[in-house]
């Protein structure tokens, strides 16, 4: 829109930009500002369009506030649960779940690794070890001698 040929800046383009950027010409892209100012000088319809946009802006700014019913504020304030509980829940869900999940995953990984590495001993090897352990040939050396 802002790179348009100066020749195409007609009333409808002016209207489109007026709706896009509003009545404050300082907020328009500089290259369009100059063309808009030129059109406003020469075109009665452009001036009328600008006046309507100004009128619309004024009307919008004067729309009355749709104030809340008098009791609503106190209903809201008294209706909330104690922060201690909701705060804990919110804190847990918002702030603690990541580290808690990381800790739980680490624990689960460690447990799984431990279970995986605890292979049952080969039966022959177990027999051999018990024979060796209780064999009379195997005696503790007497270190005092």
């Amino acid at each position: 829109m802002s790179n348009m040929d100066p020749g195409t800046f007609d009333l409808s383009t002016f209207g489109e930009n007026l709706d896009r950027y509003g009545i404050d010409m300082d907020r328009w892209p500089p290259e369009l500002r100059t063309q808009a100012a030129g059109l406003l000088e020469t075109s009665e319809a452009a001036r009328r369009m600008y006046d309507q946009a100004m009128q619309l802006t004024t009307l919008l700014s004067q729309l009355p506030e749709k104030a809340a019913a008098p009791g609503l504020g106190s209903r809201i304030v008294t209706g909330v649960p104690p922060q201690a509980w909701s705060g804990v829940v919110e804190w847990f869900t918002a702030a603690l779940w990541r580290p808690a999940l990381a800790a739980a995953l680490t624990l689960a990984f460690g447990f799984a690794l431990g279970v995986y590495q605890q292979q049952p001993l080969d039966e022959d090897l177990a027999d051999e070890l018990s024979l060796l352990a209780f064999s009379p040939a195997f005696e503790e050396p007497d270190y005092d001698e």
């Binding site: 709706d19 700014s61 809201i76 304030v77 829940v89």
Partner: protein, 188 residues
Amino acid sequence: LAVRTNNDEQDEALLAGITTGDRRAFEQLVSGHLDSIHSYLYRMTGSRADAEDLAQEAFFRVWRKAATYQPGRVKVSTWIHTIAHNLCVDMFRRHRESPTDGFPEQPDESTDPARVASDREQQRLLETAIQRLPDNQRSALLLCQVRGFSNAQAADILGINTRALESLLARARGALRSGLFANGEESE
């Protein structure tokens, strides 16, 4: 760029108080933002009852989620409007209907009793025209032109980029302008 004011700092302090369960801080925050939130929701939904329900739920969420607010990223008012807007969008999704029958309830005569009849008529026409805008155009227009958010802040609230917001604003303003001033729109 958003400029931080004393109000913003005060709001952040109130939110910090809310995280520790300070109901007084919550009360102050509610009283400071309720009318603005309610007004936005009222104009979005066209129903006082829906606006009240959504405002109530929005502030409950503020109470529950105060600890998740990130100071400096957005202003507190932007954050609360984001919560309210998302609730509104959720409601529209659930109902899949948007108010198009104009403003069903009594106009606020109490706001300015001296207003002349023609002004009231013009305002009524404007309210009706706003209600007839598509939801996303209406929210963009209300946030920027009525609630005074910058384009960047409004884009944040709606979860879109600034260019997309400008397009929504352009379509909304164009629709209102041609709706309200249809007879003055002749070309030369």
